[in-house]
Amino acid sequence: MGSWLSRKSKFDDTSNTVYLMQMPRGTRVPSLSPFPLKLETYLRMAKISHKSILGFSLSSKGKIPWIRHRGKDVADSQFSIEYLNKEFGVDFNAHLTNEEKAVSRAFLKMVEENLFWVLVCYRWFFMDPKDFGFSKPIPWLWLAYIRRMTRGYAYGHGMGRHSEEEIFHIGKLDLQALSDYLGAKKFLFGDKPSETDCSVFGMLAQFVFSDTKSPYCALIKKEFPNLERYCHTMRDAFWPDWDDVLKKGSS
């Protein structure tokens, strides 16, 4: 965790820039965690001036990402978006009907509170560690520690109590739901992206661009190709510098 002094020196609290604290870049995806990718995609969509600070500085809630803006720290990607919507007068859900906003909320939660744990269990319990898209291999001691911690978290959540096949089945049902709802549309709710698109992209990008050897990527390619198409649409629209970001390791 960053010390108070080192945190202070990174920020200019007089500027309107939003500082986004996130993990170092992945080799195949700008963030190996869906939440920083969600938040950074939102910032790009909203054209909010921002600067990524790459590292492992955790928020007050012990997680990452978090933001700092004009001296105020906000933890949690969704609270960050709510804060930024107010500060910058942004509302990507303005074009949605009340019913669509409701559906948007439901999909946001399905992806962040269910599919997320499918991803976590796959990566930390079943995936070959060589397939992690980090720039350096994870030291085995760290790997063992993170696995142990994740087992506890996944068991507490519930997903960790299921078998590998059961978890895959749960993931498949979520992907099916997303694919059926998206259909032939460009974004979830039509031609304009909404807040939930940032989150869905943040999650699906993990499977489509990073975990390319996973059974989930194979499943998406075979049975839900519109989800892959959707990821490319979001990437082309909001990450034209994707390859540069990966190369340079910062935005």
């Binding site: 949690d76 909320r105 399905m110 996944a154 519930g158 299921h162 709802y181």
Partner: protein, 274 residues
């Protein structure tokens, strides 16, 4: 020479307290061997004893039992604190097969009994139904778990009599640990309430004037949503969650009554007598 009378009395009192605790805990957790008739087609639903205000103080047994009633599948309740192989409740036993997790149970029963209460939904609606089910079971569930177990002291009001204070203490310890692992307990009580309110808003806006989520016939997700909202609407009348539903989302209360009247005409008879 030291008098050890004080220490001895302390030791005896401590031993007594430990013995009493063990007795009370065992009384609740004693694993009586459950027996089933595997020749019959009846589904045995193993769940915690009845509540005093809701048939189950947990949303998942209430969801599963409501589904059994909607799908008209013959079942028999087995009230027990015995947990599934996954360490949770409810679970079912059918023709020699034990199965945990309410959603896996529904998928199994759909196949066994050739039932599909989602049949009237379009593909797109099924997608939305799945999303709402997960929102309620993986998000709202933790909001309510935190409200009940993490912030403040849990009340025994409405709980089965067999769940005494010591059992509640152990449940609270576990739930705090799990809710932190899941993430919800990292937020403040105010933030958690805000998260819950956004879920209620979504449910209310989607339901609108409809009788059930997708029209005049209930689907699987209606069972899940009912199981969850019933905890607030019928079991926690003094909570700020019920207050916000009554004030801002009255159609959610109306929905709960629709489900209760349609599928639980015997609601009052099944409850544990107060």
């Amino acid at each position: 020479m030291h008098c050890n009378c004080g220490n001895t009395k302390l030791l005896i009192a401590a031993a007594g307290a430990v013995a009493a605790s063990a007795f009370i805990l065992l009384k609740f957790c004693r694993k009586k061997k459950l027996t089933f008739n595997d020749d019959s087609n009846v589904v045995y639903l193993v769940q915690l004893p009845r509540g005093k205000r809701v048939p189950s103080i947990s949303p998942f047994p209430l969801k599963l039992e409501t589904y059994l009633r909607v799908a008209k599948i013959p079942y028999e309740n087995v009230f027990s604190s015995q947990f599934s192989t996954k360490g949770k409740t409810p679970w079912i036993h059918h023709r020699g097969t034990d199965l945990g997790d309410s959603q896996f149970c529904i998928e199994y029963l759909n196949k066994q009994f050739n039932v599909d209460i989602n049949a009237h939904l379009t593909k797109e609606q099924r997608g939305v139904a799945r999303a709402f089910l997960k929102m309620v079971e993986e998000n709202l569930y933790w909001v309510l778990a935190c409200a009940r177990w993490v912030f403040g002291s849990p009340s025994r009001a409405g709980f089965p009599s067999s769940m005494n204070s010591l059992v509640l203490y152990f449940i609270q310890r576990k739930v705090k640990q799990y809710a932190y692992a899941q993430g919800m307990a990292r937020h403040s009580a105010k933030e958690v309430f805000h998260i819950g309110k956004l879920d209620y808003q979504a449910l209310s806006d989607f339901l609108g004037d409809k009788k059930f989520l997708f029209g005049d016939k209930p689907c699987e997700t209606d069972c899940g949503v009912f199981g969850m909202l019933a905890q607030v609407v019928f079991n926690q009348p003094d909570s700020p969650h019920y207050e916000v539903i009554k004030k801002e989302f009255p159609n959610l209360e109306r929905f709960c009554w629709s489900m209760r009247e349609a599928y639980w005409p015997d609601w009052d008879q099944v409850l544990e007598k107060a």
